[in-house]
Amino acid sequence: MVDAARHPKVDVRTYTEVERVEGFVGNFKVQLREKSRYVIADRCNGCGECAKVCPIEVPNYFDMNLAPRKAIDVPMSQSVPLVYSIDMDACIHCYKCVDACGKLEAIDFSMEDKLVWEDVGSIVVATGYSHFDPSVMPEYGYGRYPNVVTAIEMERLNNSAGPTAGNLIRPSDGANPKRLAIINCVGSRDKRFNPWCSNFCCMYAIKNAILLKQAYPDMDITVYYIDIRTPSKGYEEFYDRARKMDIHFTQGRPSLITEDPETRNLFVHSEDVALGRVTEREYDMVMLNQAAIPQPDADEMSSVLNISQSPGGWFMEYHPKLRPIDTPTDGIFLAGACQGIKDIPASVAQGSAAAARAGRVLHAKEWEIEPVVAVVWEDRCISAKGKKCGLCAKACPYGAIEYEVGKAAHVVTAKCHGCGGCVAECPHNAITQLHFTDAQILAQIHALLAEKPEEKILAFRCNWCSYPGADLAGTSHFEYSANERGLRVMCAARMDADFIYEAFRLGAGAVLYSGCHPQDCHYITGQRVGARRAERLLKAFEKMGMTPGRFRVEWISAAEGDKYARVINEMQATLDSIPKEKLLEEIERLRPQMEKRARRMRETPQVEKALEYSRELETAMTGKEV
């Protein structure tokens, strides 16, 4: 901790939150909110005279609210930086602290939050984890029975820098407990709350048991567990050491804790697998080894940073095995438990790994990004002809399009992130996206629907969520109908209505329109642009009398391989439920309307060529003249 504060290259900004992140690899702009401490950091010398005179006490979060701190205080004596701050919700404005501070004049009641922008080339996200609150589990009585404490409360009670100076007392009467139960997997490996294993709690239970046994050799300690998991170096040996210290390990997940209202002693009811029966044992104190869960603001952080989340809310890595430190956003890396629960050695290792990955970017002279940007065909833009439009600029999440009546719209390449929303929104087909042009995509659609199109499910997937979601379905070997034909574009925003009309015109049995969930969108609001269009399409097809389910809109994240497989199988079931003649009749009936709606597409440069090529390709694929 102190090393970080002393490091000449590291600028520690505490009591500071990230508000906004803009830009791209090598060129991020981050807005920080430096919360007001009401103490000038440069002047405060950490002497603590202010806290001595402060008459107000508030619970200290750092001690899990087991002890008070003053309204002006530091969370702990080794705080880095050692700068006091005032809790304005508690302060009564008696100004005794101002007097105590005296000539230092470090206290400033007029201080306000400061918003600052910082330019950085790379970001490492290391926002950590939070603790499961066991009070939602009525069977363990946490919150009702004073002598049932959580693991992190135990840490403070047994810590020489904690509120009791390391003297373990039970909260009901201040007595030293003689009999202690530690219960593992509280809120972990429990389908009601969190399905995951919280990784470090087995070792954590053993550590606390050993520490307490060393401090209180007569203490009777029992660890209740489902399985003991000690896979890392030196961990099994550590477990072995605990067993030799006469610490009891009972395999069984306690079903109930009851309390003697007079003594406040606790009775743990549990199966004991070794004995093959249910036991009820009396303890003075119980420690609940609670689950690790994502930070409460993980969802918010994920949308500020534009990074996605795995099931459960952990931040998602680019690839679970091959790129575990990277996020799908170039230049943003993950370290520590925010990516998935890990213990201290693993967190430290991942911190170093993230620094190395970030260094790879930061030491480069320049960084290459894919040129999948939008380009305007100036002669086709109606704005150039003096007509009001601006739909492209409205669709752009980055303000990358300059629009002025009388001039053709202009894409500022450096600002364009390449979602393709403007391309699909332009009603005059006056914009294209490099590497994802209309001609290229139409050629793909034609190839995918060349044979027996009525049996096919054409699936449009975005590059960042649904395409990797489909990958995950395959990696996990979730089977789905082989009639699916996938097509990748960068974002749901690029899924032009013309593509969907063309697919149905060609006789597609079903079409899937899928992208990220709104909060996961890689292009801020790209998904919303796509979602609004999808809504319009759904309504239009309903009006035309299309069988419901032939056009389906689903938001599927990179972590939802199971959902991808399920959706495709459901679409197959929809197709199977329509008699073939009825389906073919419906396709024929709707074809003229589809053709009419997609007619503008044919004016797009290169599209005629693509259609011409497609005829040739279809002939080759099917052996029939088209």
């Binding site: 600028d11 939150e17 705080s79 950085v120 390391g166 620094a355 970030a358 960084w367 990004i369 497989a565």
Partner: protein, 202 residues
């Protein structure tokens, strides 16, 4: 049939990967390659045991020269896996990296349709044909080069964040370590000794 970039004749090479038994265990890559050889613009199509291995990469590079290929289609795994690999391969042979297109016949075909080898084969042919179709309209593109601000930010001052910031600092990179609480340290600072060595946490 001309390509997208002028009057150049299309000369597409198609490589269908076995990926050991990952693909070849469900479908016959040879059949897909033979099929691809009949598609317009395709001048050479073959199967290869591991397209991403040295031998597979060398084959593609040699063929680009031998058959004067101007587009390459690799029917193998996900673009998330090997698009950078095959872009680099064609670039080494002097082709613009954006003239390479992949068909995902592993994650999105054989791995998901092990129960239906016939359906998987038909799908693999279609996906390969779609990649050939797209390849026909690919244009050479240049990467956009952006400058780098040599400064880093670490969000979160727990043990992982502190360590990342120190390592970045030691690399000579100016680093801002942002922590929302009044002190850095995170959960680790709250702990009383740590396993398995029982040393102090701060």
């Amino acid at each position: 049939m001309a390509g997208d970039n002028g009057n150049e004749e299309l000369r597409i090479g198609v490589y269908v990967c076995h990926c050991g038994s990952n693909i070849a265990g469900v479908i016959d890559p040879k059949v897909v390659a033979e099929y691809a050889s009949t598609l317009p613009g395709v001048v050479h199509a073959t199967d290869t045991l591991y397209a991403c291995a040295d031998s597979g990469q060398s084959l593609i590079k040699e063929d680009i020269k031998k058959y004067n290929l101007n587009r390459v289609v690799v029917a193998a795994c996900s673009v998330k896996m090997h698009e950078p690999t095959f872009r680099a391969v064609v670039a080494e042979a002097g082709l613009n990296p954006f003239l390479m297109e992949m068909a995902n016949i592993r994650e999105q075909c054989t791995w998901a349709h092990g129960h239906d080898p016939e359906g998987a084969l038909e799908k693999a042919k279609d996906l390969t044909a779609a990649a050939v179709a797209k390849a026909s309209f690919l244009r050479p593109l240049d990467m956009i080069k952006v400058p780098i601000t040599k400064r880093a930010m670490v969000i979160g001052g727990g043990v992982a964040g502190i360590n990342a910031a120190l390592d970045l600092g030691d690399q000579g990179i100016e680093t801002i370590l942002v922590e929302k609480q009044p002190t850095i340290g995170g959960v680790m600072a709250q702990l009383n000794k740590t396993f398995p060595t029982m040393d102090c946490s701060i």
